[in-house]
Assembly symmetry: C2
Homo-oligomer: 382 residues x 2
C-alpha cells in the first residue's frame, strides 16, 4: 500500500515520563504515584515562537495515534486521519499537532494494568481513582516538557471534549482556543446509567476477580457486554436502521438457539470481541468512572456553570450532533449560554447528521470546515 | 390495609391447561409440546351474550395479575390497577376483563423453567423457541375455553401491544377492537441491539450453563445486568434527570471503588437484583427473542404492513408516547398509515409525557380517557 499524500505519513508513538523530582504525581484524590508515563504523538512542526501547537484529546477508548501510519503496511491510519494532515482541517503544514493519551488508560500511559515498581505487579485496583482533572494535569506536564507556554487550541470529542473543557478552565493562561465536540460539562443520569450497567457487566464477570486478572483469564465476557452497551449508545436509531435495519446475516452458524441471526447482533458481538483484545477492562472502569464524575460546574464554579466558565480565557467552538442522544445538543447549548453570559467569544453549531454520538469520528465536510475556519481565525489573531 | 373501593378487590390466579386431545401444542417452528398451561385472571362478569370481554395482554416481564389484590394484606395490587376496576378506564362494572400470561414465560404458564413430564426435569433450552404468534395461539385456546366467540377489545402495551396486533390480524373474526399502546409492528435495529446485549449478558454468565441451571445457582449476575440494560431503555433522559439527576445516594457503602454513589446507579442495581428473584433468565431469553423476531408485515403480509393489516377487521386505538425512544412514535404512525390505507377506523394519539417507554404503566388521565372513550364507543356499536 502506498500512503496517501494527504496523510502525515509514517509516525511513531512517543513516551514522556515524569522522572524529574518530585517523582510522584499527586492525584486529585490525594494518592501519589510515580513515575508516570504518557504516550503521545506529534505531527507537523513547532514554529520558532511555539505558537502553533494544537492539542488533540481522544475519547474513552481512543489513543495517541490520531493520524498517519505506524508502518508502510499498516492496515489503518490513526483515528482522526480525516481531520489531521497537510491541508486538512487540522493542517499539519501550519500546525504542530500533539495527541496525548490519558493517565489511567492502557494505550502506553500509566494505568491500572501498568507494573507498580514497588511490587513488580500490575496496579489493578490499587491504581488511584483518576479524574478528568488528573488527565489534564498530567498532560500539562507533557506540554511543559515540550517547552510550549501557550496552546493555540485544545480540541476533542466526547471524553476528549471534557478534557479540552477542563484545560480551558484549569489553565486559562495556556489556552488560546478550545473546540468542544459532542461533549458535555457533566453526564446526564442516563449517561451515568449506561456506564454503570457496563461497569457492572465487567465487575459481575467472575474472572474480573476484583481487578486482579493480569496473570489469568481477563473478564472477557463482561467486557464484551460492556462494549456492546457502549457501542449502541454511540450510534443512533436512524444510523442503525440505515446500516442494518432487520437484515439477516448470511452464512450464520449459531452456537445456541439464542444467537439471533440479525446483522446488528453479529456486528455488536464482533465489536465486543474486538474490544476485549485491544483494551484493558480495568482502564474501562477507571475512565468511565472519570467521565461520570466529571462536573465542571461543581469542580470549578461552586455548582454554577457560569461561574466555572468565568475562569476561561479561550475562544470556543462548540459542535453538537442532532442524533447524539448520549450528549444531546441541549447540553452543548447550556455551555454556550454560560459562555455568552461571561462575554466569551463562542461559535456554536449543531450539525444535522444521523450517525449519533460517534459522528465526530466520521468524515464530515461541515465539521472539517468549522474547525478549519476556527483555527485559521485563531491563528491570524495571535 | 383496607382495599380501595375502586379496586376489583381480592382476585385469584387461575390456570387453564390444554388437556383435551390433541394433547400437544404445535409451535410455529413445528415443535410439539404438551400439556400447556396458561395462567390468567379475570375481573368483572361476563354478560349473557358474552360480548363484553376485554383481553388484556402484558409486557415482557409482566404477568396475569393486572388488577386487584391476592390477599387483604398484599403490599401491592396488580400492575394495571390504575386502569382496571369499577368505573376506571377498563370498567369492571361493564366489562369482563381477562388478563392472560404468555407461553414461554415464568409466571405460572408453561415455559423453559417448567417440568417436562417426559423427563421430570425442567425444559431449559429444550423448550421450543416461541413467537408472538404462539403466545396468541395459546391465548385463543383460553378464550375458546371461556366460551367467548368474540372479544370486545384486545389491549396491551409494549410486548402486550404486539400480541394485541397479532390477535387482530390472525383472528380478525374474533376481535372487535384493538388498543395498541407504546408498541410496534417490528423492532428497530436499536431495539434488537439492546435485547441482544441483554441476552449476551445472561449467556456470558458461566452459571447460565447453556440454560441448565435449575438445580444450581442461576445466572443472577448476567440477569441483573440484562435487566439494568432493559430498565434504562424503558425510561427517558428527561425522566431519569427529573427522578435522579446526578444526586448522590446518602449512607452509601461501596463494595468496590467502582461502585459509584449516584442514586441512579443504586436504583438500577436494585432493579437488577429485584428482577433476579422474580423472573427466570431463560424466559427472558425466550421472550426477548420473540419480540425481536416479531414482524407483522413479514408474517402476514409478504413484507407489506399494508397487506398484513388488510386482514384486520377491528377498530383500532393506537397510542404512542413522545419520550418513548425504544418504540418511537414514527413506528406507531407507520401502523396507523397502513390501517388508513386499508380504510380501517383508527384513532391515533401521541401523548406528550416524559416517562419514556414505561409511560403506559404510569397513571395518566389522557391515556385513561382515550381508552375509556374507545371502549364505550365499541361497546355501544355492537
Amino acid at each position: 500500500m502506498e500512503i496517501d499524500k494527504n496523510s502525515v505519513g509514517l509516525v511513531k508513538k512517543q513516551f514522556f515520563t515524569f522522572a524529574e523530582p518530585p517523582n510522584e504525581f499527586i492525584f486529585e484524590n490525594g494518592q501519589k504515584l510515580g513515575p508516570i508515563t504518557l504516550a503521545y504523538e506529534t505531527y507537523g512542526t513547532l514554529n520558532r515562537d511555539k505558537t502553533n501547537c494544537i492539542l488533540v484529546l481522544h475519547a474513552l477508548t481512543g489513543d495517541s495515534h490520531a493520524a498517519g501510519y505506524y508502518r508502510e503496511d499498516s492496515p489503518t491510519p490513526g483515528w482522526w486521519e480525516n481531520m489531521i494532515g497537510p491541508s486538512k482541517a487540522i493542517d499539519t503544514n501550519k500546525f504542530f499537532v500533539v495527541c496525548s493519551n490519558v493517565i489511567g488508560g492502557c494505550m502506553g500511559s500509566t494505568g491500572p494494568g501498568s507494573i507498580d515498581p514497588k511490587t513488580n505487579k500490575p496496579y489493578g485496583l490499587r491504581f488511584p481513582l483518576v479524574t478528568i482533572g488528573d488527565m489534564v494535569r498530567a498532560q500539562k506536564r507533557l506540554i511543559e516538557h515540550l517547552k510550549i507556554d501557550k496552546i493555540l487550541a485544545v480540541i476533542g470529542g466526547s471524553m476528549g471534549g471534557m478534557q479540552a473543557l477542563e484545560w480551558s478552565v484549569r489553565y486559562p493562561e495556556m489556552v488560546n482556543g478550545a473546540i468542544l465536540i459532542a461533549t458535555t460539562s457533566k453526564h446526564s443520569a442516563m449517561a451515568i446509567a449506561f456506564n454503570e450497567v457496563a461497569r457492572q457487566a465487567i465487575m459481575n464477570d467472575p474472572n474480573w476477580n476484583n481487578g486482579d486478572y493480569y496473570n489469568s483469564v481477563p473478564p472477557v465476557h463482561g467486557q464484551a457486554v460492556a462494549r456492546m452497551i457502549g457501542h449502541v449508545t454511540y450510534l443512533s436509531d436512524t444510523a442503525l436502521r440505515k446500516k442494518f435495519d432487520r437484515n439477516i446475516q448470511r452464512g450464520f452458524h449459531p452456537t445456541s438457539s439464542f444467537e439471533t441471526n440479525f446483522q446488528v447482533s453479529n456486528y455488536l458481538k464482533y465489536q465486543g470481541e474486538k474490544f476485549v483484545s485491544r483494551f484493558d477492562a480495568n482502564s474501562f472502569l477507571y475512565l468511565t468512572r472519570a467521565t461520570d464524575y466529571f462536573n465542571l460546574a461543581e469542580t470549578h464554579g461552586d455548582g454554577s456553570i457560569v461561574q466555572a466558565l468565568s475562569k476561561a480565557k479561550a475562544k470556543f467552538l462548540v459542535v453538537s450532533f442532532s442524533s447524539d442522544w448520549l450528549y444531546p445538543t441541549y447540553q452543548s447549548k447550556e455551555m454556550v449560554k454560560a459562555m455568552k453570559k461571561n462575554g466569551i467569544e463562542v461559535n456554536f453549531c449543531e450539525i444535522q447528521i444521523d450517525y449519533g454520538h460517534d459522528s465526530f469520528l466520521v468524515p464530515n465536510p461541515k465539521l472539517s470546515s468549522l474547525v478549519k475556519a476556527f483555527l485559521e481565525k485563531l491563528s491570524s489573531e495571535i
